[in-house]
Amino acid sequence: MPPNSESARPDADVILSLSDVRVHFPVKAGVFKRTVGHVKAVDGVDLDVYRGEVLGLVGESGCGKTTLGKAILQLVRNVTGKVLYRSDDKDTDLTGLDERGLFPFRKRLQIVFQDPHSSLNPAFTIFGSLEDPLKRYGVKTRKERRKIVGDLLEAVNMRPEAMDHYPHEFSGGQRQRIGIARALSIEPELIVCDEAVSALDVSIQAQVLQLLMDLKQSKNLTYIFITHDLSVTEYLCDRIAVMYLGRIVELCDAEELYGNTLHPYTEALLSAIPVADLDRKSKRIVLEGDVPSPINPPPGCPFHPRCRYAQDVCRTVVPELKRYRSDRGDHFAACHLVEAPEAD
């Protein structure tokens, strides 16, 4: 049974549906730049995103979470598979569209980048950076644009006068809030937050997290929250997808993930997080070695060289993402060693 069956959550409204999404980058070598292999950054991802939810995408660096985020927005080319975006009860496959075809969807899907220092153009004032999308999407007069930008800055708890200043005059937290304001400027429906708080100081992180949650409430947004910090996802997300080497290895409700972990990788990941709570000392499961190269992934389960439960079957057969039942909705995991799911 593919994980995207209709019965997954019939009451909820799917906004984005990925099926078998792959992003392979060619590796070129030699004088003639011949293709000698492919980096399989994203290697077959199936995923539904429901309207109004916060979906967490977690994993170590190099597991393809950022590439998947960019593939959703069509910011990388060579995406294969289907990225279906549903608006007004019509599904559109974004992968087949050219820039002109994508234009109406650029308005609905936005992104907040990780590094607030490099994602704002230092030569433009804040107004200059923020008015561009407004211009493109038909706000004709400068006066109107100034008013909208002013309102946006207020929405992210900054003074409207800030719009006439340059990025270097702001701190990291303020810049990140400007980045959020820019993503909001054309009233998107879905925002991909790519490590939006990772570069910020701890005391500023909480400010930005709260801002994101408030905006979600007031503007009825859907977030895909990409991060490596599992403590943040637990606080923020409704559902969490754990990625490893370009694939989703576990996908379920956030509470379910922390309460009833199925995949050994998630188990190790959770145990490795330092917890600021003295009464909660658990045994760290230390994984050996590093994430294998996505150019040449190991045969079978990509996690088997580091897995402490690995058996023969893991070394040869790639596990499918299978559906398990739980009290908190469906729970998907890709592991041979988890007991077989009940037949439907």
Binding site: E234, I273, A276
Partner: protein, 338 residues
Amino acid sequence: MAETGDLALSVRNLKTYMYANNRCNKAVNGVSFEIHKGKTLCIVGESGCGKSVTASTIMQLLPTLSRIEEGEVIYHSDDGDIRIDQLARNGRQMRAIRGSEIAMIFQDPMTALNPVYTIGFQIIEMLLYHTRLRGRKRFNKAIDLLRSMGIPLPERRVREYPHQYSGGMRQRAMIAIAMSCNPKILIADEPTTALDVTIQAQIFELMETLKRDHGTAIMLITHDMGVVAELADDVAVMYMGNIVEAGPVGVVLRNPVHPYTRALLESIPVLGRGKNQEIRAIPGQTPDPYDRPKGCQFADRCRYRIDQCDAMPPETQISDYHRVMCWRYEEFTANAAE
């Protein structure tokens, strides 16, 4: 304060100022702490609070336009105490201590390692200056060090360059360099901030082993309260050049007294507390180091501010081990005990 034999390093009322553009940044402004043998002291704080400057002061690795204005840094070596702050920055004695007695691991291994020399050469360099090992023995020692850090195929890896290592392995190689002369004190400046959690767990495991097997005293600089709970024996919370609260980790994390420590603990989501946990952001941001508030540095962001906070609060010893810098500590101690 007991002058016992288990002290590795004491810092007393240390002030390090940095000068730039005719202005003075009081980066470290009166800091005192002790590191015990075989124990880990964690220094926590946000960026710009003076954690790294404290570390560089101990190593005498400060930039040219900065100096130790006041205070003492005492290294309790096996042959008596040495006042590190009085040694010439690059004098013979300081160079003998730096690396062999007190070693340091930096945040970003890619910039700390020299890209044009092999890892092996960079380990051997330490052994060349600080030990009597010669020739083949030195080379073998380098291989042994890499092996003990859990690097696979050390015989081959020793001839490789930093770019051929992965992030986690580079950090291990750095620790191998730092540990090559069995230092008494290891200063780790955010050693795992650039690494993934699974690799971070490997590095922590390694540091625990070093502490246990060699009795190394560790000073760990971090901004992550989770790391503190996991690794520290003692903790010092820094804010704008002062240690605002310090004590054993059990006391400080269970009964935090200073409003800043409390705010820090409340501002991060804690794993396992679910979706309904409340996190409370700290309002505002750290003050400009050239334009500091007159009194308590945290006053502008503090929920408990009173008029008295316009003056700098003194360091108060609440119990034998626990000290705090806040005017209203008595009220907070009372309600922390509840």
